[in-house]
Symmetry: C2
Subunit: 131 residues, 2 copies
């Protein structure tokens, strides 16, 4: 069994961090399944997320550990964590505290704009606000 099959089949969490030491993490709403955001965790953020049961990320723009909601009040309680086949991506289900928004813009989800695919023949695609 090659290294990759071992990672796909093993029953131990053996995360495969990228060259920057990060895993992508998809965060979804525990109640509705809606995708709220995509962020990154380094080893320390993953350890804290597992130990505290709240989402910690690594902010690539600020280059620092980030306890989601620590300042805004919208902390994320993790109810479930999954890992993908090659263990380089995580999926967490969360309950968002405070006003329930996951995006710093105030939207519930970061994915509040839809790409207007039906207008794709006329150059740069437009975006439609769609929360």
């Amino acid at each position: 069994m090659g290294a990759s099959k071992a990672i796909e089949q093993c029953l131990t969490l053996t995360p495969s961090f990228d060259a920057s030491g990060l895993l992508a993490c998809i965060t979804i709403d525990a109640a509705t399944g809606e995708v709220l955001m995509l962020a990154y965790m380094n080893e320390e953020a993953l350890r804290r997320s597992i130990e505290t049961g709240e989402a910690w990320y690594w902010s690539r723009s600020r280059r620092e550990l980030w306890h989601k909601g620590a300042t805004s009040g919208q902390t994320q309680r993790i109810t479930e964590m999954r890992v993908d086949c090659d263990q380089d991506a995580l999926l967490i289900k969360v309950e968002v505290a405070g006003d329930g928004s996951a995006c710093h813009t105030g939207h519930r989800t970061c994915f509040y704009r839809k790409v207007a695919l039906d207008r794709r023949s006329v150059g740069t695609p437009a975006l439609i606000m769609n929360d």
Copy 2:
């Protein structure tokens, strides 16, 4: 209005590729909303995805454009595309052809293992098969 607010509020798709020229892309099942996989698109993969209406990715391991399902038959027809606040991540809703599995392991989703968070006090977390 700063550059970041402009990106958050504009109604034009202006993707922010990372240092490797990639955007993270979350792929979900159009019918159920289930998260199927996380992959990456470079500019060419994004262009082809928009133009053909089928998912194209950039394979980081093989370092090549990747028309998902071209060999397996499990192509992904895109019914909706969203972009996040800072335009460095995409969300696509897809209808999977063939046997409906999105993962090369044969699982429907790449996230077929759950992290055993309740056993987190005893060292390395275990994984539970859970498709």
